[in-house]
């Protein structure tokens, strides 16, 4: 039962926001000691496992390609593509962005998009603009709601697209962890089984955006009428 202390260390360490690497080292040490190993044996076992798991970090080899393309305007090109969507409704705009984000992430381009690069400078202002052109000046609450939805599509798209790409940390971690426990799976098998959830995420979030559009229409059209009556 003492072997479970390592899990407690891991959970508490992450919960109180210590650096995750240090938490992992502490959890490994506690687990190993509780399992009857000496400190040197724990270090050796961890070293062997670290070495056997090198393929988990192999995703780093794609960085020179992505970095090179960014130097030649990959992010800027993606922004130009999104900027072409001017004139769409809020829900349409966000839905198309969600599709873009998921598709790009599925091809390993998780870095295309992001809150600082895409949402704040481009997507959120465009979404607000789309609502303004339809309903006029927006109440602050609506403005915030639209901004929050802009951030949300970026997260949903990235989370439920990236695992379709084989060389992403989470897929390789799954492979690595299972292999350390004596179960071998191929990265491709894992990424294929990420597709059903990706489709479901898109469908569910599409419904959410449709409901957002309806809500905007109801609340804002109401505001306009009241303003007319007064």
């Amino acid at each position: 039962m003492l072997t479970l202390a390592g899990i407690a260390v891991l959970v508490v360490g992450f919960l109180i926001r210590l650096n995750p690497l240090l938490v992992i080292a502490a959890a490994a040490l506690v687990t190993g000691l509780a399992g009857g190993l000496s400190p040197v044996e724990v270090l050796s076992a961890f070293g062997k496992a670290f070495n056997d798991s090198r393929y988990v970090s192999v995703f780093l080899i794609v960085l020179p390609v992505i970095g090179l393309l960014e130097r030649y305007g990959l992010q800027e090109r993606a922004r130009m593509l999104i900027a072409k969507l001017r004139g769409a409704t809020v829900a349409h705009l966000l839905l198309i962005y969600l599709f873009f984000r998921q598709t790009f992430a599925a091809f390993g381009l998780t870095s295309v998009g992001g809150h600082a690069q895409m949402v704040r400078p481009l997507l959120a202002p465009m979404a607000e603009g789309a609502a303004e052109s339809r309903y006029g000046e927006l109440p602050d609450k609506t403005r915030w709601l639209i901004r929050a939805h802009s951030a949300a599509v970026d997260n949903v798209g990235a989370f439920f697209g990236e695992d379709i790409f084989i060389a992403v940390g989470s897929i390789l971690l799954i492979k690595g962890f299972l292999e350390q426990n004596g179960v071998t799976v191929q990265p491709l098998e894992l990424s294929v089984w990420a597709i059903p959830t990706a489709v479901a995420a898109f469908a569910i979030h599409a419904i959410r955006l449709f409901l957002l559009n309806r809500r905007l229409r109801r609340t804002l059209a109401g505001v306009l009428q009241k303003a007319d009556g007064e």
């Binding site: 891991l10 959970v11 992450f14 650096n19 995750p20 240090l22 992992i24 490994a28 687990t31 009857g36 050796s44 076992a45 961890f46 070293g47 496992a49 670290f50 070495n51 798991s53 090198r54 393929y55 970090s57 192999v58 080899i61 794609v62 020179p64 390609v65 970095g67 090179l68 393309l69 960014e70 130097r71 305007g73 990959l74 800027e76 090109r77 091809f107 390993g108 949402v119 704040r120 959120a124 901004r147 929050a148 802009s150 949300a152 970026d154 695992d163 060389a167 989470s170 971690l173 799954i174 690595g176 962890f177 426990n181 191929q186 089984w193 990420a194 059903p196 959830t197 979030h205 959410r208």
Partner: protein
């Protein structure tokens, strides 16, 4: 025969270049911690197979200390100015996406078609690691296409790669460290111990309950820790492997893939995942720091239900 070891040499050389470029960089204050970190990781890829377990352990511990104590560069070196990047984006158009697409396409085609290729009876590629070898191949093909097309300075893939790796920082080795932790868990019998506790306290005698406990547990643990990567070893050692795979004969690939994605539902719903949820609220100047989370929860909950149902329907069928 080309094996995973060759991919490791490629990775090692790239990482060694990051370390050397860091040492040569005069454009910003020196970061010896970064040079040492990427240099050690390069050493692990290049020579790890020839080192003793204890030396590999010391190497891993050094990486943990350098990364964990915050000795890495926090700012990334600049790329080209944005005005130049924009002009380049206009000139090259959507073809800019193409070299990036070469990588997964090569990986996929390689996995499907290069598996059994032989030269004079000797297999060309190690079939067991075909996907990762094809990935390495994809990187080389993408560079072979992009370099003559864009004609950048020769070192710029490495310089720009270093820029990206600096933005990732110590988190780059988090998945590998968690995988290694998995081995210590396995060695110490954590799975068995948790399995005993879990079956004593939860009605996990039915496959359905085990799947629900695993998926919902992944989401909840992720929400508590703010990180699905950290929740995965815990929940998989506790319920995923001992119950879903070993006891009920579920498919480990489906269990792992859908389990991780259940964890991501938790990421959508927690302030602990600050980068995704709290930082954007600040960036977008929302008065409510949980504003983004509140919008995401109504997607996270139905998606978690769908994930649980998907796993239950699929995991025992394949």
């Amino acid at each position: 025969m080309i094996t995973l070891e060759h991919v490791y040499i490629l990775a090692g050389l790239i990482l060694a270049a990051f370390a050397i470029l860091e040492c040569l960089d005069r454009s910003r204050p020196r970061h010896p911690g970064s040079a040492l970190f990427w240099g050690l990781l390069a050493g692990s890829f290049l020579f790890g197979s020839h080192l003793s377990d204890l030396l590999n352990g010391i190497l891993a511990l050094s990486l943990i200390l350098i990364g964990g104590l915050g000795l890495l560069a926090k700012d990334a070196p600049e790329s080209r100015p944005q005005s130049e990047r924009r002009r380049s984006a206009e000139r090259h158009g959507n073809w800019l996406f193409f070299p990036a697409l070469i990588i997964p396409i090569t990986a996929l085609l390689g996995t499907l078609f290069l598996k059994n290729m032989t030269i004079h009876g000797v297999p060309l590629l190690d079939a067991k690691q075909i996907t990762l070898i094809s990935l390495g191949l994809g990187v080389l093909v993408a560079l072979a296409f992009a370099m003559p097309w864009l004609r950048p300075p020769v070192l710029s893939p490495l310089q720009e790669g270093r820029r990206l790796v600096d933005t990732i920082g110590w988190a780059a080795i988090l998945p590998q460290m968690l995988a290694a932790l998995g081995a210590v868990f396995a060695l110490s019998g954590v799975g068995r111990a948790v399995g005993t506790v879990a079956t004593a306290w939860l009605p996990l005698g039915q496959p359905l309950f085990a799947v629900i406990a695993y998926c919902v547990g992944m989401a909840m643990f992720t929400a508590i820790m703010g990180n699905a990567f950290a929740a995965f070893p815990v929940m998989t050692a506790a319920i995923g492997l001992p119950l879903i795979v070993h006891k009920f004969g579920g498919d480990p690939a489906i269990m792992g893939a859908v389990g991780m994605l259940s964890g991501f539902c938790g990421t959508l719903a927690t302030p602990m995942a600050a980068n995704f949820n709290i930082v954007p609220a600040a960036l977008l100047e929302l008065p409510d720091r949980n504003g983004v989370i509140k919008v995401q929860i109504p997607t996270a909950i139905p998606l978690l239900i769908v994930n649980t149902a998907l796993m239950y329907v699929l995991v025992f069928r394949f």
